[in-house]
């Protein structure tokens, strides 16, 4: 916290807060007035059909034109990417097939024994025995469940995708750092849209341009997973102390030396965090892009869900979670190692590499003679599917009434009324109210909301907003108290943190599986899955926000004679409020992304719009619906951050 005294802009920004006092009631009154006005001019409530701007036709037209004129280019790109991808697939999963037909010889893939051992070894090198066990056992489980091939397909996609994302993100981040104007007007807005665009929306153009293939899955994944790397690079470079830049100049670095020898290495911590995020997002997206030919574990889940095979879906979902946890912990351990550089006694870097290679080659060679090394014999695999099914059956048999009653209750008294309210919201009123709330952002907000209305997707947009809003409310009602409890007690925190760390690593797709089994399809299921997925930031930020209140402040409060409750209410909570709001902001964005995925389980909203577009490969419709979602997200984010900022400015924080 620094106190800005001399920044005139800070002073001007505080006006926002001052004006907010009458802006909010005025906006509400206006909104109500418009509602009534809507009874006279229905066009203000329901966006008039003739005024719908045919964005989707335009986008479809552009895509069709692209497809018509750029096929050689897309083919070329596909061919280039396909080569390493094929290689990785063959190496890890499929084996190399040489020749055709019956006389084709197949070189074996890497033995599962070798891969598992190497993963264990990686864990040991970077995180000691515990991480070694985690990595080794997780991969062993993949083999035991008989999911090795699909798991390795998923892994291969990630292994090829992540370096591409990291390098692209790094270069873009450097570009953005070097050219602030370009960043402000092009890169940053593009990143905003890309990060709020729902995952499904990425699939459609890729499907159209590259067909249903692993290549389009990889490209969609790349597009989705690169933005955090750009941001991490930008942030990392901006955080390098100015003195270090000056030092580089004084040492006589050329511009290139300064960048690559001084700035980038000094930003390593941020960069490694970016890499971790890229890996996790890539995994998330690789699962979803199995819908357009990515294959792998995501496809298993998809098939099982479609066939309502509880056990299989659960097992494949668990396999994804295992991979996610391993990749997350491993990349974090590597990042930490880089952060506190210290020489590790024992084997050097090269020795480790050679041992790993020897393990892989050795076990694979053994596999030539012992088939069990190539593929675990079916007799040795075990499946947990029947147990899941039995467990579920038991739950349904015994608790069905309770669950059903809860579901119906939620639906009747909470969700349905809320839904009708949102569906009836007049677009003009919402536009004006939000723009007025945004104050300095009013133009941006008006344009974004106006776009949502003018696409003719107002009602689905409001349906999305309703589900998202309901989930956020539930997530906050549950999450903030948990966060507060964690902040007030170390014991609670010790319990809560690992759980939310775990929740955070789970790809969004996997949340659907258990809920859909208990609550079947519909809004309640979507709500549950979304809450489970989006609750993490509200807990984490609340905990962090309360804990970071300076001890001096608390002591000052105590000295003035606050009771613990007063201390909490009048010192800790107000100081932590900006952080808590930021957590809610994150929760909103996560909820929005999850709601869209819930289209798979039969919600009626924008997500369904995209889902249908995906099925018909209707790019215009899908992309426009995706943009509407992105704009909802951006609007929410801008308003929340502006609010937090004005609050901080008012208090001279920041």
């Amino acid at each position: 916290m620094t106190i800005e005294t001399a920044d005139p802009r800070a002073a001007r920004r505080t006006n926002f807060a001052g004006l907010g006092r009458w802006v909010v009631p005025a906006a509400l009154i206006l909104c109500a007035a418009l509602w009534f006005a809507g009874t006279l001019w229905p066009g203000l409530v329901q966006y008039p059909d003739p005024a719908v701007i045919p964005f989707s036709n335009a986008v479809s037209g552009v895509m069709a034109w692209l497809k018509a004129h750029f096929t050689p280019v897309t083919r070329g790109i596909a061919a280039v990417i396909d080569m390493p991808l094929r290689f990785a697939f063959n190496l890890l999963s499929k084996g190399f097939k040489i020749g055709n037909g019956a006389e084709a010889t197949v070189l074996p893939r890497l033995s599962w024994v070798g891969v598992t051992l190497v993963m264990g070894m990686l864990g040991w090198i970077y995180g000691g025995a515990r991480l070694a066990l985690l990595c080794g056992i997780s991969f062993l489980a993949l083999a035991l469940f008989g999911l090795w091939e699909d798991a390795m397909l998923t892994l291969a996609l990630i292994i090829i995708c992540v370096p591409i994302c990291v390098v692209t993100g790094l270069l873009l981040g450097i570009l953005a750092y070097r050219m602030p104007v370009l960043n402000r007007w092009v890169i940053a807005p593009a990143l905003d849209v890309m990060q709020t665009m729902p995952t499904f929306a990425y699939l459609i153009p890729m499907l159209l341009l590259f067909g249903a293939s692993p290549v389009s899955a990889l490209l969609a994944t790349g597009l989705f997973a690169t933005p955090p790397m750009v941001r991490a690079t930008l942030l990392g470079l901006a955080k390098v102390p100015a003195e270090i830049g000056d030092f580089a100049d004084m040492a006589g670095c050329t511009a290139r030396q300064k960048l690559w020898r001084v700035m980038v290495p000094s930003a390593k911590t941020s960069l490694m965090m970016g890499v971790n995020q890229v890996i996790m997002l890539a995994l998330n997206m690789v699962i979803i892009s199995s819908m357009i030919g990515g294959g792998g574990l995501g496809y298993d889940v998809l098939l099982a869900l479609r066939a309502l095979k509880v056990g299989q879906a659960m097992e494949a979902g668990l396999a994804i979670v295992l991979i996610a946890i391993v990749l997350d912990r491993l990349s974090q351990a590597i990042a930490r190692r880089n952060q506190t550089p210290a020489q590790r006694p024992g084997l050097g870097r090269h020795a480790n590499l050679w041992i790993a290679l020897a393990l892989l080659a050795g076990t694979t060679l053994v596999g030539l003679g012992v088939p069990g090394f190539v593929k675990l014999p079916a007799s040795a695999t075990l499946t947990t599917a029947p147990y899941w099914k039995a467990g579920l059956d038991w739950v349904i048999l015994n608790w069905f009434d309770g669950i059903e009653a809860g579901r119906v209750f939620l639906l009747l008294y909470f969700l349905n009324p809320l839904r009708s309210t949102f569906e009836a919201l007049p677009w003009a009123g919402v536009l004006i109210a939000l723009a007025a709330l945004g104050w300095r952002l009013c133009l941006l907000v008006a344009v974004l909301v106006g776009f949502c209305a003018s696409t003719g997707l107002w009602v689905p947009a409001m349906q999305t907003l309703y589900l998202c809003g309901a989930s956020v409310v539930v997530a906050c009602v549950l999450g903030i108290p948990i966060g507060l409890a964690a902040a007030r007690s170390d014991r609670v925190e010790a319990w809560v943190l690992p759980i939310i760390d775990g929740l955070q690593t789970i790809p969004s797709f996997c949340f659907i599986i258990p809920v859909v089994m208990l609550f079947r399809v519909g809004d309640v299921t979507a709500l549950m899955a979304t809450v489970a997925f989006a609750i993490v930031p509200s807990i984490r930020y609340t905990n962090y926000g309360v804990r970071q209140v300076p001890t001096e402040l608390i002591e000052a409060g105590r000295v003035s004679g606050c009771t613990p409750r007063q201390l909490f209410r009048h010192v800790q909570l107000p100081v932590a409020l900006p952080e808590i709001l930021l957590g809610i902001n994150q929760t909103i964005l996560l909820a929005l992304s999850m709601i869209i995925i819930c289209a798979m389980i039969g919600t009626r909203d924008l997500g369904q719009e995209i889902f249908k577009a995906l099925a018909k490969a209707d790019s215009g419709r899908g992309i426009v619906a995706g943009l509407v979602i992105a704009f909802i997200g951006i609007t929410a984010d801008r308003l929340m951050t502006a609010w937090v900022r004005s609050m901080q400015d008012k208090r001279g924080m920041r």
């Binding site: 000056d246 040492a251 006589g252 210290a342």
Partner: protein, 360 residues
């Protein structure tokens, strides 16, 4: 004690320093804000503070003219925000001066191209930073060798040279440590070794000891004096600690609001403060440490030839204990050994008690 390293070079007021000018700037301006250089040009290279405020420009350095002699320790002092860092960054052209002239070894430094500047910095300049600015991903050895690495010096040679400097700053045995594993004082030693690795002729130090605690600071000051007695660099040193300045300086420049208020030896600043601001700055100084025998002596009496002799440039505190114990006054002699005055115990005691300002 290096405390008393009172080198005879410290010239008395008025005497022209015989050493050649190493670094020289004339009418140097640095004005922050859009259109600053245009603004100054329109006003013929000078602008009043009121004009600047009206134009929403911040003048960090205003019309500074100074020269630094070869082998000199030149100290820049001033309160926070007075423009010290900006001045030094202009002298090294880390930031581009808005107006004025800047010469290094009589060569126009402002005319140097980007490539020439890189060459100059690689071989003639070194800089030590307040917050050390060590590269977090390199160990001590690699940090010190970094400037050489940048120049493409082969590994064996640069490591050997870096090791020599690590040895010089007494960090032997810690070559493989990373900055995060060192204390503040040790980190700054690394920063010093690194800035020396290219054997610079001009050495800039921007508040190098401000981030250190008083004991370590003192130790590092002694270390600097020791290094300087070996290396004989031209040093431009920023500090806002007057005691530090007194210990180290040949000459001190005092800045206020970007303007150079006064330049002179510590003694000159104490005896002839140019403004109230300087007087305020030097008020709490231990005068015995600053003043020399010359400024406290009275005309010699005939008996003076028989007294114990001290040099006119000797600091009072280097003989105060002796003179108080002695029965007689001391005779003050100039460089050639001629008696030019005498100094009494009473005068010294008065000075120590802060009773009387010595007559200039």
């Amino acid at each position: 004690m290096p405390d008393t390293v009172s080198e005879p070079d410290r010239t008395a007021s008025g005497a022209e320093d015989p050493r050649p000018k190493k670094l020289e700037c004339r009418n140097l301006w640095k004005v922050f804000g859009p259109g600053a250089s245009q603004f100054l040009k329109e006003r013929g290279g000078r602008a009043s503070p009121e004009d600047l405020v009206k134009a929403h420009l911040i003048a960090a350095v205003r019309d500074v003219t100074l020269d630094v002699r070869e082998g000199e320790i030149f100290i820049v002092m001033g309160l926070s925000g007075s423009g010290k860092s900006t001045l030094v960054r202009c002298l090294s052209r880390l930031i581009e001066p808005t107006a004025g002239a800047l010469d290094l070894d009589g060569r126009d430094l402002l005319a140097a191209s980007e490539a020439e500047l890189i060459e100059i910095r690689r071989h003639k300049m070194g800089m030590v930073f307040q917050h050390f600015a060590l590269l977090p991903h390199l160990n001590v050895l690699d940090n010190v060798a970094f400037p050489l690495f940048i120049q493409g010096v082969p590994e064996a040679q640069r490591e050997a040279e870096a090791l020599a400097f690590i040895d010089l700053v007494c960090l032997k045995g810690r070559e493989r440590h990373f900055p995060a594993q060192l204390s503040g004082g040790q980190q700054q030693r690394v920063g010093i070794a690194r800035s020396l690795a290219v054997k610079p002729e001009v050495w800039f130090l921007d508040e190098p000891y401000s981030a250190l605690d008083p004991l370590i600071r003192r130790e590092m000051q002694n270390e600097l004096l020791r290094l300087q007695s070996v290396l004989k660099k031209t040093i431009v040193f920023i500090t806002h600690d007057f005691d530090e300045a007194i210990r180290l300086a040949d000459r001190i420049a005092i800045m206020k609001d970007g303007v150079l208020v006064q330049v002179g030896t510590a003694e000159e600043l104490v005896n002839h403060p140019a403004t109230d601001y300087v007087a305020e700055f030097t008020k709490d100084v231990n005068r015995a440490k600053v003043l020399s025998a010359r400024s406290l002596m009275r005309p010699a009496s005939p008996a003076a030839q028989g007294y114990e002799r001290i040099s006119a440039s000797a600091r009072i505190d280097s003989f105060s204990a002796r003179i108080v114990d002695a029965a007689q006054p001391f005779a003050v002699v100039d460089r050639r050994g001629a008696v030019i005055g005498e100094i009494t115990a009473a005068a010294v005691i008065d000075l120590l008690a802060g009773k009387e300002r010595p007559a200039p």
